[in-house]
Subunit: 348 residues, 2 copies
């Protein structure tokens, strides 16, 4: 199965340049919904895949080729930086990740190492292999968790609904939070710079849980750090996609991160986001991942509805509003790729 | 400790009439953060409190008097209607509620009873006692879970992050979802009508989890049912507060429910909500409950910032953006009541 993309339409859209067809890729496109991935996963743990560049490259490439999308996102886990920071990481099936020990006091924050010392080199090596596999026109996306989201995992010790410990640190002890951010930001810049050096042509920064905060708190406790990381990466010449969820109430603050692209969830109509942002950045999103369970006619109609909202806009990248879920029918994902081609072509 | 409120400022604000001071109450104001409640809870299970009108009235009254707020919300649980519907309900400490069996197929939905047959009479009896305790000027708020949120608990079997089963029903089998809504709506109207009959002067409809949906799906799968329930309750002469979270992206659709008041979470600045809604309804909210853990000076400043956003607006009710959390310092909650008085008085 050959990759359909022969233009760099994904990167052009990131830069808000006109494209031949709307570019499309999917968050978590290499994942448990796909039989080829499950076959690899049956033999290897999640970390074993991430830490072996050959395997990580293989699942990355297979997914991109199988779906015929316009970009490959490197197979890795948002929590990998926890390892060189000295945390233990377990993935209990069905219950999400467990990170130990929890990070809740200033002394422990002060003891965090200052650099990754190349310990995540397997990620950039995997990127190097994927980039080498594809023609120059086909981009590999690198990624990391944004400072808030990464910090929230370390502080909560895993997934959370209320992010009570994280927010209590922000609200009760600003100094501890600032110290943690000052530790994490240079490390993320280091990690992402390695990925760019290895051939990543764009970087997605996942701030999946930052929507736990309101706008004033986002602007105070998150925005300065995000700007710092995003600016450092974009100075290397690659666009950053800043992805967040639950943040429909403050798109302007998201734009103020300076990211070339904002990745949005489905909680706001894309048409509204365009009119609110008035072309200040490119937009990526935002089909509800659960929509992929709909019968074909309804799914097609949802894709049409979504595509219509970006008609006439430059800088639109089709994606979901969050990652593909494990039980998603592969056929539906492939259909969506075809419909995106069809609807964008018909707009020419 | 006497109730400070001698005017019906809460009800006046619901109707967007001028008030002497900004009314204030707190979601989950009778709860585990309060020692008096913990003392009762040490002797009785949650359901034992809800199902005993004397006890439920006692914890409701104690909290309202202790805090000196402008309204008492009846102590009850959003999941009580699951009992007459034939579900088992357990509250495992720390893990949230468990509802059994899960409700996922059309046959099971079809078998749900058509009426509560007065089986939740203990809630209205508790309301009757609270209303009898307070002077006429002090309102008791009744409540229920909104159709989506109640349904999500029955379908998921408890709390959820992605609401995958609920959304799959909406996306995969519209007919099953419509049938479930047709069962739940008349039942909720029956339940809330009993509460109004017993003396509830306002009703809050909790749609805590509806933000899992995007706007188009909200409008199709939720809005018609919410309108039906809200209209039926408001026809009885009491205002409905429609509370939701994660819905900053579609305030206009929330307003289309017809509710007199919208309860908002902290994910959107209140000033923005006012300008977007242009006086179409009263607004309640939206301090982040985690803010109540801040040191006094910062908390006071957050309250001032929030109050300033509603300066000059009629129809503002101070509240949190979600319920008070268990470990919240009581002193901070009381301080907030005083600061709301202070800042609204200084605006006169």
């Amino acid at each position: 199965m050959a990759v359909a993309c022969v233009s760099d339409r994904f990167l052009r859209a990131c830069r808000r340049q006109p494209v031949d067809l709307t570019p499309v890729w999917f968050m978590r496109q290499a994942g448990r919904y796909m039989p080829q991935y499950r076959a690899v996963r049956a033999r290897h743990g999640l970390l074993e895949i991430c830490q072996n560049p050959e395997r990580a490259a293989e699942v990355t490439i297979t997914a991109a080729e199988e779906l015929g999308v316009d970009a490959a996102i490197i197979f890795a886990d948002l929590l990998l930086p926890a390892l060189p920071l000295g945390f233990h990481l377990h993935f209990n099936s069905g219950e999400g990740p467990v990170i130990e020990p929890v990070l809740r006091d200033r002394a422990a924050i002060a003891r965090l190492p200052e650099s990754l010392h190349g310990e995540l080199g397997y990620v950039s090596e995997a990127i190097r292999r994927v980039a080498g596999h594809f023609p120059d026109t086909f981009p590999v996306i690198g990624f990391a968790g944004a400072p808030f989201t990464l910090a929230s995992y370390l502080i909560e010790g895993g997934a959370s609904r209320q992010f009570a410990h994280t927010k209590r640190m922000i609200f009760e002890d600003r100094g501890a939070w600032a110290l943690l951010m000052q530790k994490l930001c240079p490390m993320l810049v280091e990690y992402l710079s390695e990925q760019v050096e290895a051939g990543a042509r764009a970087i997605q920064l996942f701030d999946s849980w930052v929507g736990a905060l309101g706008e004033a708190d986002f602007r105070h406790a998150v925005l300065p750090y995000n700007r710092l990381v995003i600016e450092a990466v974009q100075d290397l010449g690659v666009p950053v996609i800043y992805f967040s969820t639950g943040t429909s109430g403050y798109l302007g603050a998201l734009r103020d991160t300076g990211a070339a692209v904002l990745g949005l969830d489905w909680r706001m109509e894309m048409s509204r986001a365009w009119s609110e942002l008035r072309g200040g950045c490119a937009l990526q999103g935002n089909l509800d991942p659960l929509r992929l369970f709909s019968p074909a006619a309804e799914l097609k109609s949802a894709v049409r509805h979504l595509m219509a909202q970006s008609r006439g806009q430059t800088g639109y990248i089709f994606n979901l509003g969050h990652g593909i879920l494990p039980e998603t029918p592969v056929e539906n994902v492939k259909n969506v790729v075809n419909w995106v081609r069809e609807f964008s072509a018909s707009a020419l």
